[in-house]
Point group: C2
Chain length 210, copies 2
DNA sequence: AATAACACGTGAAAAAGATAACAGTGCTAC
DNA sequence: GTAGCACTGTTATCTTTTTCACGTGTTATT
């Protein structure tokens, strides 16, 4: 039972490690990863414990092995499809961002009400009409969805997603979604984040951890 | 010295209260606000302590007064300008989102390298050429900035922002920024959030707090 | 060969954050 | 009136998360 934040950091470590690997780095120590991630060495070591991977005090962590170990812990056994609902500016930004990224987590279907978008392929992702939400999700066994519709529509979409068997929602709409406790919701609230930044920028407070 | 998360929740309460006010609600109790925010009544009461506002056991909290009190605590004494760097899909989505929202926190200037965007007004916000970053920020006393440029450019932009006197950064680029400790950075990492959702969707874990 | 220097994993202490408990207050209903 | 209730502000307790500190094993150095 790893800490909630710990899960987030593991994902962060992975993205850092991927970049390091591309730059030809083959191994590193906890304090190096910590410095790149904005964490402490102890925290890195503790986070990595849950993955079961154990590094060498001499060579540190092997980047490839560590990546594999984090992947085994974090990812589903097979590649998982994600649905995105709401192909506005934000939705398209996310679609663009994810094209050709994580092989284990790909946006498989998008949905929108706008007839001009429906049935077109945007950033390599097919945009379906909103009516087909349930049928497509069930057919493709999608369990994770991203909500990027206006606030007013978000709850309705969330309800439909849950009925279609979705178990996790990444919600960009600025409302709290009411879902069954068995469905995990993560909110990304830009207003909140910006107000937080504004607040702390005034307090002269130091940079935040992860 | 309120909790870090507490600041975020105050912002959330405010957005909920604003909506309630529009719907004609004039007062409410801690448990009602808690339910809307996905928190516990104790947590709401505790969070509100820092604002100094005190409600009545009979009538609960007056929505208007509470909003004012949260505003006094959270906002700068005068309306504050925000800069946005990077007018891609994501940047435009954020600009659209903030047009005519918080009067106390408005996006005042945008920046991009693309000559097609420069000097145009997008969602009511003037887009400046990237070269003018420092001069515009200094001239307009901007202390808060949003980074929505590609990862590779983010650190450079952050450095320039800091030199121009920015004290808080909301960073959407998937890299950790290295800044002086006096600058507050909040990261919005979509990949991380999505991987977290995917992980917990598999664990059948219950919905998260705030 | 002995020892100093490191960095690992992990249990224990400390800090932060959330929840529960309680005293106080004003209304309502007898 | 006064007992009961429903809520508040705040203190106390409990849980989660982070940091510290130590034992271990390996290499480099005297």
């Amino acid at each position: 039972m790893p800490s909630h934040k710990s899960i987030g950091r593991l994902s962060l470590y992975r993205s850092i490690l991927n970049r390091l690997l591309r730059d030809g780095v083959n191994s590193l120590f906890s304090h190096e990863l910590a410095s790149l991630a904005g964490a402490t060495p102890s925290q890195v070591r503790r986070d990595l414990m849950v993955t079961g991977y154990t590094g060498s005090p001499v060579r540190g962590y092997d980047v490839r092995d560590l990546l594999a170990s984090i992947g085994r812990f974090l990812d589903a056994p097979e590649s998982e499809g994600v649905a995105l609902v709401g192909v506005g500016n934000l939705g398209r930004a996310i679609m663009a961002f994810f094209t050709g990224r994580r092989p284990s987590l790909t946006i498989q279907a998008a949905f929108d009400r706008d007839p001009y978008k429906v049935n077109r392929v945007i950033h390599g992702i097919r945009c379906h009409p909103m009516e087909d939400l349930e049928s497509v999700l069930v057919r493709e066994h999608v369990r994770v969805a991203i909500i990027t519709v206006p606030a007013i529509e978000a709850q309705d979409i969330a309800d439909r997603l849950c009925r279609a068997g979705v178990k996790g929602i990444l919600n960009f709409a600025p409302v709290r979604l009411r879902v069954l406790p068995s469905v995990f919701v993560e909110d990304v609230d830009v207003t909140m984040s910006l107000e937080k930044v504004a607040y702390y920028s005034r307090q002269g407070n130091r940079a935040e951890g992860i």
